[in-house]
């Protein structure tokens, strides 16, 4: 079985993102870029399935400009066998991303597609669900546990009410949550090796994708800041303060 893993290049989760003063975007100048943390978890899971003999090949795919090759190389260094870049310089919205991934699926015929549950830049949390809908295959979102037996997967999902378990037929789309695993660290020799692994480039415009009705962002604003409040010295003072405010 081949596993396809979606990898998005995003601002590193440790960066405190700031809105540009003119409201045209966020400041990404010189900011550290990384693999979306959920996608690292998706890739780690794919690699573990391969190591357990349940998958034969792991292919990482990213939709983006040439700079996303950096994140694909990170994926290759982690252990993916091959990488595919769907080249487009403009940012894509989830419908176009899902349609592009579907094209890659048609070409690669994976038995499983693993994506992050959300990209931490736009916080959309949509692409996997859209892809499963377009592909007309099962979806299991927010996976915190996954086991594959033959052509079926059992997935535990982190939902608001607790942990839900479903069984799905493969091929399917699974989006991963934080507690699925802890991704491995990349070792230096693997970075060298990754340079020689194949990275194919497809041109988005040649895939014939209709981006659908596209949303336009008219303005970025910083969120309202909470003000620093008061400090109290004891539990007693704390309780008094809460009582004064009518909260207890």
């Amino acid at each position: 079985m081949k596993i396809l893993v979606g990898i998005k290049r995003v601002v590193d989760y440790n960066v405190r993102v700031r809105v540009l003063p003119n409201g045209s975007g966020v400041d990404t100048d010189g900011v550290k870029m990384s693999v979306n943390p959920f996608d690292e978890i998706a890739l780690e899971e794919a690699l573990r399935l391969k190591e357990a003999g349940k998958a034969t090949e792991v292919v990482v795919v990213s939709i983006g400009g040439d700079e996303c090759q950096q994140q694909l190389r990170t994926g290759l260094a982690m252990g993916a066998d091959r990488a595919i870049q769907v080249n487009i310089t403009a940012a894509v919205q989830p419908l176009a991303a899902a349609r592009a991934l579907l094209k890659v699926i048609e070409q690669e015929q994976p038995g499983l597609v693993l994506l992050g549950k959300q990209a931490i830049d736009d916080d959309n949390n949509q692409t996997g669900q859209m892809l499963a809908g377009l592909w007309n295959r099962p979806q299991a979102t927010f996976a915190s546990k996954l086991s594959v037996e033959g052509d079926k997967a059992t997935v535990t999902r982190e939902v608001d009410a607790g942990l839900e378990t479903i069984s799905i037929d493969l091929p399917a789309v699974i989006t991963v949550d934080l507690r699925l695993n802890e991704p491995r660290f990349v070792k230096l020799p693997d970075i060298m090796k990754a340079k020689r692994k194949p990275l194919d480039v497809l041109q988005m415009e040649q895939l014939g994708i209709d981006a659908g009705p596209v949303y336009t962002i008219e303005k970025f604003t910083p969120p309202p800041q909470r003000q620093k409040g008061i400090m109290v010295e004891s539990a007693e003072q704390l309780l008094q303060e809460l009582k004064n405010r009518g909260l207890v």
């Binding site: 669900q129 969120p223 809460l242």
Partner: protein, 312 residues
């Protein structure tokens, strides 16, 4: 004039509060509002939905195979109901996030996540980058708008309505590819974290599941729900459904008490809309004090029992 269909979230017995919040968002768009109650044996839930103010019609789609909200079987129902509506709204909960994008893609449109404010019927405000930026997004006119509604940004709509209830047959059948095996609920009978007016939360500092009992005990005394940081969940002190933050629950209680939580941006994202934030941390430099309304530097293992004692 806009016409909005809200997809109700429920567990078969009770309408989730997030649905009443979607109604408020729909009211802000200004439109005729219908609610779809998909599921199995949904009489009770449909009646609850019909009692929300300003709802026109509740549409029941009832079938055995729709008992559990699997996106694979529910999305085709949403798509089948969509004709004639300008907007489809679902809650920005794990339920809505699972379902709405799939339905949107089947309808050939993008989906807007986490609507926090309505600027006009096609113009919305939502957070990105874990709430570090807010964007004003325009949806092109002429296509259906599919969106999820950020619960913490909206008050629940009032009751007192009396919408008519209609039934429609299911458009699709059971899935041969997906089987629902079970749900293990984490919480007990404490107040629900997402709708509680008071929440007491604990972080990594609690150190163990046993120690976490002091947080429960204080919460019970206060009639509060219990929350946690990711670190506390990851360490296995508490179940996943208690996680507050960017990848957990986004909540807006009147009072939030954080014990031994450092205040990472991903945690703060989940509590920005809280009324009053109280932080207790032994490190006076902890970032959580930057946003806390009331801070107390000290050891939670002595402060929690003392608060409980003082509460009598």
């Amino acid at each position: 004039m806009s016409k909005i269909l809200i997809i109700a979230e429920h567990d078969g017995q009770t309408l989730n509060l997030s649905t009443a919040k979607c109604v408020s968002c729909a009211q802000a768009i200004g439109a005729e509002i219908d609610i779809a109650v998909i599921g199995k044996a949904t009489e009770t839930v449909a009646a609850q939905a019909a009692s929300l103010a300003n709802v026109n019609t509740v549409i029941r789609v009832d079938a055995d195979h729709l008992e559990h909200p699997l996106a694979e079987t529910w999305a085709p129902e949403v798509v089948a109901l969509a004709a004639g509506y300008t907007h489809l709204l679902g809650p920005s909960t794990t339920f809505g996030k699972d379902l709405m994008p799939r339905a949107a893609a089947m309808l050939g449109v993008n989906q807007l996540s986490d609507v926090m404010e309505v600027l006009d019927a096609n113009f919305f405000r939502r957070p990105i980058y874990a709430g570090n930026a807010i964007i004003d997004v325009r949806v092109p006119e002429g296509s259906i708008t599919v969106a999820t509604v950020r619960s913490a940004s909206w008050q629940a709509a009032a009751e007192g309505g009396s919408a008519k209830i209609e039934s429609r047959p299911a458009a699709g059948g059971a899935s041969a590819q997906t089987r629902w095996l079970g749900l293990k609920a984490g919480g007990g009978d404490r107040p629900d974290l997402q709708s509680a007016s008071k929440v007491v939360s604990g972080g990594r500092a609690l150190g163990s599941a046993e120690n976490f009992s002091i947080v429960y005990s204080l919460a019970d005394k206060m009639g509060a729900a219990v929350g946690a940081s990711r670190a506390a969940v990851d360490a296995g002190y508490v179940p996943n459904d208690m996680q507050v933050g960017q990848t957990g629950k986004i909540i807006s209680p009147d009072l939030y008490l954080a014990f031994g939580i450092s205040g990472a941006i991903q945690h703060i994202t989940g509590i920005k809309d809280a009324g009053t934030i109280v932080a207790v941390n032994k490190d006076g430099e902890a970032p959580i004090f930057e946003i806390a309304d009331i801070g107390l530097v000290g050891d939670l293992f002595s402060i929690i029992p003392e608060l409980e004692r003082l509460l009598g």
